[in-house]
Symmetry: C2
Subunit: 204 residues, 2 copies
């Protein structure tokens, strides 16, 4: 946790409170695990504030269901039942395409990715959620499936008070420049180095 005192007070005409409450554009990038995990951890805090959570996973497969999804669906039900926390929507975009590009199916994957982004754009315009997780979204930009400038412009000019967290390797420079908070997950050591494969409860 950073200490509470910023080193620079910008000359932006905002009060400390106004500046403090600006919605954030956050990017988790780097080669190491923890990018999505940390984004879902952030979403826990957002849920606790009663914020409307929207998770959009650009995942390996629509059949792929991570533990976080079940947990957040349980939290969404807690909200419906008791009013505690906020409502949760969890969407898988681009059913069936892989974060590991597969030859032969690229055009389909790109098209699904563009449909997913179009949906997110509509929601941002309508201010549908308070806290968005665009999981593995950076790949779509890296692979050139989306126009980076258009995405950055849409995110930068999103209305209201909507926080957006984007994960994925190889986040492009323009996205990093536009973001308020960028964390790179760096590998120091991984069980795979010692020949240990991913396991239930840890990797999914």
């Amino acid at each position: 946790m950073p200490k509470g005192k910023p080193e620079v007070i910008p000359d932006d005409g905002l009060t400390t409170r106004q500046r403090r409450n600006r919605p954030l554009l956050v990017v988790h990038t780097g080669v190491m695990k923890g990018k999505s995990t940390a984004a879902f951890g952030m979403a826990l805090r957002a849920w606790n504030q009663g914020w409307k959570i929207g998770v959009f996973q650009f995942v390996k497969s629509a059949k792929w269901r991570v533990g976080e999804q079940s947990a957040f669906q349980a939290l969404g039900e807690v909200h419906e039942r008791t009013g505690q926390g906020g409502p949760v929507e969890w969407h898988k975009m681009g059913e069936g395409w892989s974060w590991a590009r597969k030859p032969g199916s690229e055009e389909d994957h790109a098209e699904k990715g563009r449909e997913g982004w179009a949906e997110i754009k509509r929601r941002l315009a309508e201010e549908r959620h308070d806290f968005y997780v665009l999981d593995e979204f950076a790949y779509l930009l890296h692979w050139g499936w989306l126009d980076v400038d258009e995405v950055v412009e849409t995110l930068t000019n999103r209305p209201g008070r909507q926080h957006v967290v984007i994960t994925g390797r190889n986040a492009p420079r323009a996205l990093i420049d536009a973001a308020d908070l960028v964390v790179e997950m760096t590998k120091i050591k991984h069980p795979m180095d010692a020949g240990q494969k991913g396991q239930r409860g840890i990797e999914w």
Copy 2:
């Protein structure tokens, strides 16, 4: 997510399944935010597996209550009510001592920290939880409040199938050497750089 194929198959006499299911010692270190957040994200997956979760926060103040705590308590209640997921225990160790060392009160803080570790040791010996988060625990080692060798030995020789995730800056070398998975959170950009202070729902 790393690909499923390890580059090295170690000559350790274990089958792939045995190796796969070895409990992990995980360290999240580095100067950047996301260390604890990612640990709680991992705990979501563990919860979903029905594992018994134990969170031990070596925090700023016992009054400090992060959003994750409320969310996990809600998930613990879901488990009690419906059987979904696993039970959750959330403990704050060393009430009132700070991660930022304060002059004058150091000995008290160190003592509380040692009591906290003694409790964790007992639980590890009893195999009380399946998934431990020792949040901000690395500071205690860095500050010399605990004997690093003794902690590492206890963790390395813990019985059964208990996963342990330790967070905090300046994790000592011996802990990193003993860990299976080490992630360093590296700062690329932080809102504080632009004079923006932490905000509700994001920082807590």
